[in-house]
C-alpha cells in the first residue's frame, strides 16, 4: 500500500494525477475525489461541488410528503441527460413508469437565468449578431464555450468603448477562438480545449413541468427493479453488483460514471422490511461496492419505519446525509418568522457532507435550506432568512461565555 517514493515534505502534490481527463458530467474535487452533479445546481454548490464518486448519499424522507422524490428525479434526470448508466429501484409495481415523470433540462439559457443586470443584456445582444457566423452544429456542441466568448465580447466592448467593432474567429481545425477589434489584432486567443470544461457539461437546471425526452428514457443502459417483488435483498444486491461492475475503479481517467437510485428502501411493501439486520448489511455492502467503483448511490428511506437504534446505524453509514421536511399549510408562526414563506414547499437539511480521503469535517454556514419551486418550474434551495423580530435576538449567543460576547459587540459597527 505504501509507495516506495520518497517524499520530502508532508504536502506533496501528486503531479502525475494532477490533470486527469474525465468524461462529461464529472469534475475534480479536493483530495483526489471526482464529483458528479446532484441535478440541482444549488445543492451542488452547498455540498462544495456535488456528490463525490464512490459515495453513498442517504436521504431521510418525510412520511407526510414526497419531497425526496424531487431530489431523486433531478439526480436521475441529470444522469440520463449526460448518458450515464442508471439503476433505479423502487417499491412501486412499475418502476420504469416513473422515468416518464423525470424533468427535462431547461430550454435555453435565457429562460433559466434568474437575475441579470441590464448592462449584460446589452452586451449579449451585440454578441448574438455574430451567431450566424458559427456553424449550427458547432453552436450546439460548444455552447458552454460560446457563452464564455460572449462574456469576453462584453469585456472587450467595455474595454475599447466600441460597440460593435469586435470580431470573432472560430477556427474549427485549431479549436481556437480569436477575438479582435478593428485596431488591434487578436486581443484574445483562446484554445477551446481549455474552455470545453464548461458548466453545461457538468450540470443542468431542470424544468420540472417539462418531461424528459423519450430517447433519454429508452436508453439501453437503464436498469429498473421493483423491490416489491423481491422476497429478500439478494436480488437487489446482485443487480447492484452487476451494475457497478461496469465502473471499476482504476486510477486512470474516468470515462463514465454510474448512478444508483434506491427509493424508499425500507417501505412496508417490501417483504424484507422487518429484517433490519439484513437491510443494514445490504447498505454496508452497497457502500463498499460503491466506494470501489466510479459511481454514486442515493438511497432514500422513511426513518419513522425503523427502530431508533437502526435509524442511527443507517445514518452512520451515509457519506452524505440529507433529510427533507414538508411545510404544513398555513403554519402562521413560521410564516411570520421567515421571509419568502409563501414560495416554500419544504425544507432540506444537510446533516453530513461526504469526507473522503480527509479527516477534516465539512462545516457549512447553514444546514437548513428552504426548497422553493421558482416559477413552479425550477427547484431552488435557499438559506433561510429570518424576518426581523422586535426586541432581543440571538439569545443563545448572549448566554454562553460572557467574556467573548463583550469583545464581539465591540467589533460590530452600525
Amino acid at each position: 500500500m505504501a509507495a516506495a517514493k520518497t517524499r520530502t515534505s508532508t504536502f506533496s502534490r501528486n503531479l502525475s494525477t494532477a490533470a486527469p481527463s474525465h468524461g462529461p458530467g464529472l469534475k475534480c474535487g479536493p483530495n483526489g475525489t471526482v464529483f458528479l452533479s446532484s441535478g440541482i445546481p444549488d445543492l451542488d454548490k452547498i455540498l462544495g461541488g456535488g456528490f463525490p464518486l464512490g459515495s453513498l448519499v442517504m436521504v431521510m424522507e418525510d412520511a407526510e410528503a414526497p419531497h425526496h422524490m424531487l431530489l431523486l428525479r433531478n439526480f436521475m434526470a441529470q444522469g440520463l441527460v449526460l448518458g450515464q448508466p442508471l439503476l433505479y429501484s423502487s417499491p412501486a409495481r412499475d418502476p420504469r413508469g416513473f422515468l416518464g415523470t423525470l424533468p427535462s433540462p431547461a430550454a435555453s439559457k435565457d429562460d433559466k437565468s434568474r437575475e441579470r443586470d441590464p448592462d449584460q443584456e446589452k452586451g449579449l445582444r451585440i454578441a448574438w449578431q455574430y451567431k450566424k457566423y458559427f456553424g449550427e452544429n458547432q453552436l450546439d456542441g460548444q455552447r458552454g464555450s460560446l457563452s464564455l466568448v460572449y462574456s469576453l465580447f462584453i469585456l472587450l466592448a467595455g474595454l475599447t468603448n466600441v460597440n460593435a467593432a469586435c470580431f470573432c474567429f472560430l477556427s474549427k481545425s485549431e479549436k481556437r477562438v480569436t477575438l479582435s477589434t478593428r485596431n488591434t489584432l487578436s486581443l484574445f486567443s483562446l484554445k477551446l480545449d481549455a474552455l470545453s470544461d464548461g458548466k453545461h457539461e457538468y450540470s443542468n437546471e431542470f424544468d420540472l413541468r417539462k418531461p424528459l425526452e423519450r430517447h433519454f428514457i429508452n436508453g439501453p443502459r437503464i436498469d429498473c427493479l421493483s423491490i416489491q417483488d423481491c422476497p429478500d435483498l439478494s436480488t437487489l444486491q446482485d443487480r447492484c453488483a452487476t451494475f457497478l461492475s461496469q465502473f471499476p475503479r482504476n486510477d486512470g481517467s474516468i470515462s463514465c460514471a454510474g448512478r444508483i437510485a434506491i427509493q424508499s428502501f425500507c417501505a412496508p411493501q417490501c417483504a424484507y422490511s422487518n429484517m433490519e439486520w439484513d437491510m443494514l448489511s445490504f447498505i454496508r455492502s452497497l457502500k463498499s461496492m460503491v466506494r470501489s467503483s466510479n459511481s454514486v448511490a442515493i438511497l432514500t428511506f422513511p426513518p419513522s419505519l425503523l427502530s431508533p437504534s437502526f435509524c442511527k446505524r443507517w445514518q452512520h453509514m451515509a457519506d452524505t446525509l440529507l433529510s427533507v421536511k414538508a411545510i404544513r399549510d398555513e403554519d402562521k408562526e413560521l410564516a411570520q418568522l421567515l421571509t419568502g414563506y409563501q414560495d416554500m414547499v419544504g425544507f432540506l437539511n444537510v446533516h453530513k457532507v461526504a469526507r473522503i480521503n480527509t479527516q477534516v469535517p465539512v462545516i457549512l454556514e447553514a444546514t437548513t435550506f428552504s426548497i422553493k419551486l421558482q416559477k413552479r418550474r425550477y427547484l431552488v434551495l435557499e438559506c433561510l432568512n429570518q424576518a426581523p423580530v422586535d426586541g432581543s435576538s440571538g439569545t443563545s449567543y448572549g448566554t454562553s461565555g460572557g467574556c467573548s460576547s463583550s469583545s464581539k459587540t465591540g467589533n460590530l459597527d452600525f
Partner: protein
C-alpha cells in the same frame, strides 16, 4: 511540522512524554462518537503516534467503515514517514463483541494496545445497551467525541472527554480537526 508536538489529547493519554515502552501498551482504548461529530480523527491521531518514526510499533488495522486507501491518504498528510500497516477487511457486526473479547485477551498476552471506535448514539434508545456498557467497562481509557451543545461552528468542531482510568483523571477540551493536525484547546481558547 514538529513530529513530537503534543497537545491536550496526548497529555490526557499520557503520550506527551517520550517514554519506552509505549504508554498505551497493554491498554484498551475505547473511542465513542455520534452522527454529528465523527471521532475517527482520534483514530488517525493514534495511528500517527503509534507509527511515528522513532517507534517500533506494528499496527493491525481492522476497518469496518472505510477503505484503507482513505486512511493511507490521511496518514500521508499527518506524517512524512511511510510505514506499512497490515490490513484486514470487512466483517460482520454480530460477532464483534466475541471478537473484541478475544482481542482483549491478546492485549494482556502480548502486551499490545487495543483501540476501538464505536458509535455511541446507536445505543441511546436502548434501556441497557449491553455492548456499549461492556466496552466502556473493558476500556482503560474512554474517549468521547461530542458536538457542542450550541451547535456547529467552524472554529470548534466538537468536544472531547477523555477518561483515563489508570490515572483516575478526566479531561475535557474542545478540538478542531485540520488536514495535518488536530488542535485541542480549553473552551474559549480557540485561535479562530
Amino acid at each position: 511540522m514538529n513530529q513530537r508536538s503534543s497537545n491536550l489529547l496526548d497529555e490526557a493519554l499520557g503520550l506527551d512524554q517520550v517514554i519506552e515502552p509505549w504508554p498505551l501498551r497493554g491498554r484498551v482504548v475505547a473511542i465513542e462518537d455520534q452522527v454529528e461529530t465523527s471521532g475517527s480523527f482520534v483514530l488517525h491521531h493514534l495511528l500517527k503516534r503509534s507509527l511515528s518514526p522513532n517507534s517500533s510499533n506494528v499496527t493491525i488495522f481492522i476497518s469496518f467503515s472505510q477503505p484503507f486507501s482513505h486512511y493511507d491518504r490521511i496518514l500521508r498528510k499527518l506524517c512524512p514517514g511511510e510505514k506499512k500497516f497490515l490490513v484486514a477487511a470487512n466483517g460482520s457486526s454480530d460477532y464483534v463483541l466475541d471478537f473484541l473479547h478475544y482481542c482483549r485477551t491478546l492485549t494482556s498476552e502480548f502486551d499490545c494496545s487495543l483501540i476501538t471506535l464505536n458509535h455511541e448514539d446507536i445505543y441511546s434508545s436502548e434501556d441497557r445497551p449491553t455492548f456499549l456498557i461492556q466496552m466502556e467497562y473493558l476500556a482503560d481509557i474512554l474517549i468521547k467525541a461530542e458536538p457542542l451543545a450550541t451547535g456547529l461552528a467552524t472554529d470548534v468542531h466538537g468536544q472531547l472527554t477523555v477518561l483515563n482510568k489508570g490515572r483516575n483523571k478526566v479531561s475535557n477540551f474542545h478540538f478542531k480537526v485540520k488536514e495535518n493536525v488536530v488542535e485541542c484547546f480549553y473552551p474559549g481558547r480557540s485561535r479562530g
